[in-house]
């Protein structure tokens, strides 16, 4: 066997690789699989939140904002508990980011509110003096793409077993069911229900009117997404 291996460099190299990789395999993989399971309190994104996530990605928010709280006192003082890998179980793709022109947003839902986001997205410098963030006024008139969000929900539910319409455990011991529509119309209706709750806390009359008409501006979806980051 060894004589044969010594005469065949290719298979020898394969053998060496297997022997060395084995340690990595048994040490890293089980740990990795365990850590990437959703932690308690992590729920899948609802239709509206997912549409807001698409708005977030479309406007490249992740170019200036990270979504990863590192385990340092200075960070946890400012942003809350450090991030756990399982919290990203339903993030496809994750938006960790490596550049912080603005602050981290992974737990922004804990310390900012709907009305604050509304003021801030209209004119960041009005609430954060000296802010270099541009205004995102078009989000108040553009409509959120609920159909695409629903398509993503269907895909991840089918191929990655994301638990929509199932109860997931929350931190306070209760359970939560994130609904996914059975049809496009149903998904739009569910998203509109969520949008109404957000719009009720907003001041912009145009946004309120749009939601009352049955359409959802991007800003409502984005705020729903930001509020879900906890």
């Amino acid at each position: 066997m060894f004589h044969w291996l010594e005469k065949h460099p290719f298979f020898f190299a394969v053998g060496v690789f297997v022997v060395i990789a084995f340690a990595g395999l048994v040490e890293i993989l089980p740990n990795f699989a365990q850590a990437s399971r959703p932690v308690i309190g992590t729920a899948p994104y609802s239709t509206l939140e997912l549409a807001g996530r698409h708005v977030y990605i479309k406007n490249s928010c992740n170019a200036c904002h990270s979504q990863l709280v590192r385990p340092f006192k200075s960070e946890t003082d400012r942003y809350g508990h450090y991030s756990l890998s399982g919290e990203y179980a339903y993030d496809r793709p994750f938006l960790w980011g490596s550049k912080r022109t603005g602050p981290d947003l992974w737990r922004v839902g804990n310390y900012r509110t709907t009305d604050w986001h509304e003021n801030h997205m209209k004119n960041p410098a009005s609430v954060v003096p000296g802010s270099v963030m541009p205004a995102y006024k078009w989000m108040f008139s553009n409509k959120a793409d609920i159909n695409t969000a629903f398509a993503e929900q269907l895909t991840v539910a089918q191929y990655f077993s994301v638990p929509y319409n199932q109860s997931v455990p929350m931190k306070d011991g209760t359970t939560k069911v994130v609904k996914m529509g059975g049809s496009v119309a149903e998904a739009n209706a569910i998203a509109l229900e969520e949008a109404k709750i957000i719009a009720a806390d907003m001041k912009d009359q145009d946004v309120k009117d749009t939601v009352a008409r049955g359409e959802i501006p991007e800003i409502v979806a984005l705020i729903a997404y930001l509020n879900s980051l906890k």
Binding site: P71, T76, T113, W116, S126, D201
Partner: protein, 307 residues
Amino acid sequence: MNKLYLWGIIIIAVMLGATYLSVGGSKGGLNGDIVNMLAVAGAVSLVIITVFVVVKYVRQMQVDSASGELLKDNWDGIGEYKNEVPTGWAVMFLLTMVWGMWYFVIGYPVNAYSQIGEYNEDVAVHNSKFETKYKDITGEKLVEMGESVFLAECKVCHGISADGIDGAAANLNKRIDEKSVKHVIEKGSNNKLLGMEMPMPDRNGLLNANTGALITDAEIETVSKFVANKMSGAGADIFAGTCAACHGEDGKGLDSVAPSIATYTPTLVSNVLTHGKKGVIGVMPKFDRLNDKQKEAVGAYITSLNK
């Protein structure tokens, strides 16, 4: 004398000469610097040791010859002798195996470095330092701490001067504004300002003792102005008849019944920070991340703004 030794001496001389030229000959020199001296000492010993070792082994190749029984395997005509494993090597090998087992079973699992562990230690050290340093902080110092916490956590909504940035958040330079009083009377309120559930009824539960009827629109208007105007002006009678039963004659609240609406108190502010708040302006999130001392400090700062 062997030619080899002669070459060795020549090479040493040349290398040391080059070293001398590059150090002493340049403008730099040693400058009496210990690091420079160490570097030169290292260079000199390296040259000498290298030449000695090379000479030793070249000499060995020239004069040594090998003998013994050959293994049956050979590789392209190059064979190996059947030699015993050197004792020192064998002992080291066994010791390494023992150490490896220890490390695998005890050494690594018990003493493994953990990023989170380091973080936890950091936080514990910091917290205990914070506690001892600021345990007895009071008065002016507490207000200063409150201001710095305010500037870090609260100014984003309430503004650097705590004026609420044109209505984006509450103006903390006064206890309450007219809009809020009106909203609370009309809609009721349940903000745990006393640290516990103690809801205030909406207008359908607010009786004006003077008239014996529910509070009217005109009365709400007047009493809101009265409260927002630091409990002065017209409306004192409505306040006495409707609000004073819970909020006290002077509006400073009653223990376990209703919060002060005339002044801020550190406890009131602490409770808002702990539970968050919802009012006419919007929702204020809770600030659980602050510790009790920091909450107390923010309370002292807000109270001091209203002196």
